[in-house]
Symmetry: C2
Subunit: 324 residues, 2 copies
């Protein structure tokens, strides 16, 4: 039996979750791809942190070249987060003939044409299912399974932090500040929540959805973006009076004249619409297309094990299709 | 550019929808698979019916062997419906080296081990995404994209006819008989609605979901099945008093001791549960698994173009992965 060898860049929460998930489900995963799967090297400074799992000390390195230059490594998983050095590392890995899997929406959205071109040039796979909607298999579905359609519209609740805050404001009647504090205490918001509450994270994800669905690259900075910091109880009450809830929606629509409109902003959603029922920190992506009509995908948009599900799914896809 | 040649078995509503959908989206489909895609022969008695599209008369045949024995045909799409002769035709096509795509839940559910074995033996692909949930990419997601998980439970609203009837009874306060009549007038129920209202169709789909998720084959006849014919306004009111709606749920759960429980029956669903918001003729499949936690897929479960979306998606998957 062949062994698929993986180099892991970053062992924070998501990296640890991925390592754990592989241990938890190794038997099923290896049976499915008909190969052994092993994380052989890990780029990570913090080698002493208690991660709740045993990781052999010799797997850790502080030099990324130990991974890029190892001819035995087939796949590099990038879980550093942030645009740089992640994007450069992804490129270096591909230039060294490695397939790459990442969960990093910021790095992918900021460099989509460059990274997809680099993968093509090197004839390697570049998979990033976890970058939008966490565990929800939305990108693979749009890229492959539902690809017979002409897509016309996407509405996404793609940021769990803001959905949680808006949900708590709507159901508990608390202020934006109180809801943010609650989200931070529960681990749904970071100490510096800017990227989430200002809609930047949602714009990154919309940029990736647009590239996949409409074949156009829009840099996230060029997507008109309004966050949720101005949402008040008055606005929530006004929405309720109109039989609506307020959701932070990443929206793109292809108009009849071929023009693409896109925006991230707090949006009225009718209470009977499937997106209105997406509660707390959950994510959902709702699409319209000319054969299917409407489809919606719903699930956890973040968290170590859900994200690991998508990352390992990407690894298995490479194992099945590109490493036979 | 290569041409992928398809033989189509059956040109009723779904076959016509598939033919139309290929004409509508041919450019995008062919660009995606980097090949021309052509339906070259059609097994169908009714060659004169007005289908709203022009089909060259010479494509029709009344002899299935014209398709099975044509060495130029790569893929056979089976859209006859019903268990026989469909299952035998699927087998014959595979024994003749053809990849097979079908939307036929009855034939797949009744013959799952035989048909999947036959595909393996002949080293051909056997794709049936449209057989559960119509346009919803549920089977491919469970089989591949989310496969890193251990699945523990599935709850499916997999029959649009019964969901429509229960929805109308709940929102309009009409009787089962009135709602059935309405569904028949709108084309959501057949003249003989037995397979839908008695839960037989849902049991077929649950059998396929169980085979994919849990690797066990349960013949649909062995799934305890209760339909919706006994649902009254009293029962709907009782559910409402308990903050629930009644849905026909196809349910399977893997217990801690490894035992699999399965059943199709009308079930109380809490109003805040994502499945409660699946209205009218829509379908949804809700799963639990050890990494993702919860996922739900929502969309149209039937209809010519939605079903065609899944059928053509299966064709494209074969073109991309098995015919490179």
């Amino acid at each position: 039996m062949k062994t698929i060898k993986i180099g892991l860049l970053g062992m924070g929460n998501i990296g640890t979750g991925t390592y754990k998930a592989l241990e938890m489900n190794r038997e099923e995963i290896e049976a499915n791809v008909n190969a052994k799967v092993e994380i052989v090297k890990i780029l990570e400074k913090d080698v002493t942190r208690d991660r709740g799992i045993e990781v052999p000390a010799e797997k850790f390195t502080q030099n990324p070249d130990d991974i890029f230059n190892d001819p035995e490594i087939d796949i590099v998983i990038e879980l550093l987060g942030g645009i740089e050095p992640a994007a450069t590392f992804i490129e270096t890995a591909m230039n060294n003939g490695k397939h790459v899997v990442t969960a990093n929406k910021a790095a992918v959205a900021a460099n989509y044409p460059r990274l997809t071109e680099c993968a093509k040039k090197n004839n390697v796979r570049f998979n990033y299912e976890a970058s939008v909607g966490g565990a929800i298999p939305i990108l693979t579905s749009l890229k492959d399974t539902v690809r017979a359609n002409k897509y016309t519209e996407v509405l996404g609740i793609v940021n769990g932090t803001t959905n949680y805050i808006l949900h708590m404001m709507g159901t508990e009647g608390i202020s934006y500040e109180e809801a943010l504090k609650d989200a931070q205490e529960r681990g749904f918001a970071e100490a510096d929540p800017t990227a989430d509450v200002e809609g930047i994270d949602a714009a990154n994800k919309l940029s990736i959805l647009i590239a996949l669905m409409f074949g156009k690259y829009i840099h996230p900075n060029d997507i008109p973006t309004t966050g949720i910091t101005e949402i008040t109880q008055e606005k929530i009450a006004e929405a309720k009076e109109n039989d609506c809830v307020i959701k932070l929606i990443a929206h793109a629509t292809l108009k009849d004249d071929g023009e693409l409109e896109y925006e991230v902003r707090p949006t009225y959603i009718r209470t009977y619409h499937p997106l209105a029922g997406v509660l707390a920190e959950f994510n959902a992506v709702y699409i319209k297309a000319n054969l299917v009509g409407k489809l919606m995908f719903y699930g956890p948009g973040a968290g170590p094990l859900p994200t690991a599900s998508a990352v390992l799914g990407d690894v298995m896809e490479i194992a099945r299709t590109a490493m036979k």
